[in-house]
């Protein structure tokens, strides 16, 4: 994360040194009050940009776009598929639709403070996670406890789930790419 308004050298210069001179091949996200003009150029040093002031959730979402956290574990699915690649692909492709959709549903349920909907979604997510081998019992435990009011803590939980789902989608896309290569 590179603030562009630094006192001594500019963030642009520091980023150039890190990426070009030191040779690090890593994403750099610029933080600034104004969108840097070079963001629009293809040669931009920055992978992304966050404008100040930012919400805690926003920064976590942006970062999770560039982290390669492994959250998927297909061994449970494979115990059912017994090597059937067509079936595995079908499940992963369905998951690509379900995982973002449940975030939409969950956000709506939070907004409407519809606690019975939240309960239903958390119940469904338990099965979804279990098929995809996602270890998120603690998150589900917390989600199941959301039955009285929506406050800052529950909002943070929603962000946490959203970030998890972004990582799941990323993992699934990589897995599908990997499978396509093998086929």
């Amino acid at each position: 994360l590179m603030d562009l308004q630094l006192p001594d050298s500019t963030g642009q210069e520091a980023t150039r040194i890190i990426l070009n001179e030191m040779g690090y091949d890593i994403p750099v996200i610029a933080i600034s009050t104004d969108r840097p003009s070079e963001m629009d150029s293809k040669e931009s040093l920055f992978s992304d940009f966050i404008s100040k002031p930012f919400e805690p959730g926003e920064i976590l979402r942006k970062i999770s776009n560039y982290t390669r956290k492994k959250v998927l574990n297909l061994s449970y699915l494979q115990s059912f598929s017994e090597g059937n690649e067509v079936f595995e692909r079908e499940i992963l492709e369905s998951a690509l639709e379900i995982i973002p959709q449940e975030i939409v549903n969950l956000k709506l349920a939070f907004k409407k403070e519809d606690f019975s909907a939240i309960k239903n979604i958390s119940h469904k997510l338990r099965s979804t996670y279990s098929i995809l081998g996602i270890n998120a019992g603690f998150i589900l435990h917390k989600l199941e406890k959301v039955d009285k009011q929506i406050d800052r803590n529950t909002e943070n939980l929603l962000t946490e789930i959203e970030i998890l789902h972004m990582a799941i989608v990323q993992n699934i896309k990589m897995e599908l790419k990997h499978k396509a290569k093998q086929a």
Binding site: S94, S116, H123, I131
Partner: protein, 127 residues
Amino acid sequence: MRVLIVEDEVLLLKTLEFKLKKEGYDVFVSKNGLDAISDINTHQPDFVVTDIMMPVLNGLEVVSYVRNEWNSKIPVIVLSSAKHDNIVDQAMDLGASDFISKPFSPDELVIKIRSLTPNAFKQMAIA
């Protein structure tokens, strides 16, 4: 042998469908309890596997429908997370034949279903 699977979570539904088809059953699926009621009448299943916690019409109501309205003794297996013991008790009281706790292994599922549908396997073996 015809099985109806009632499950509102798509990945689990597809996984159950895949496994039971592979076992040689004719599989029908319903995405909620309400669909299940009409699907039972349409497909006349020889047994039912149903999730308990579903919106609109839950698995308890599916069990009750099979036993009372439909007046059938076919095996009905309920799926439930381990932490909902109380609901499993209710399902058994309503006449469910057995229950499977989620998450379950493929073997657990198959063994339980085979034990409740012994005739199916004689027939399949002969066929």
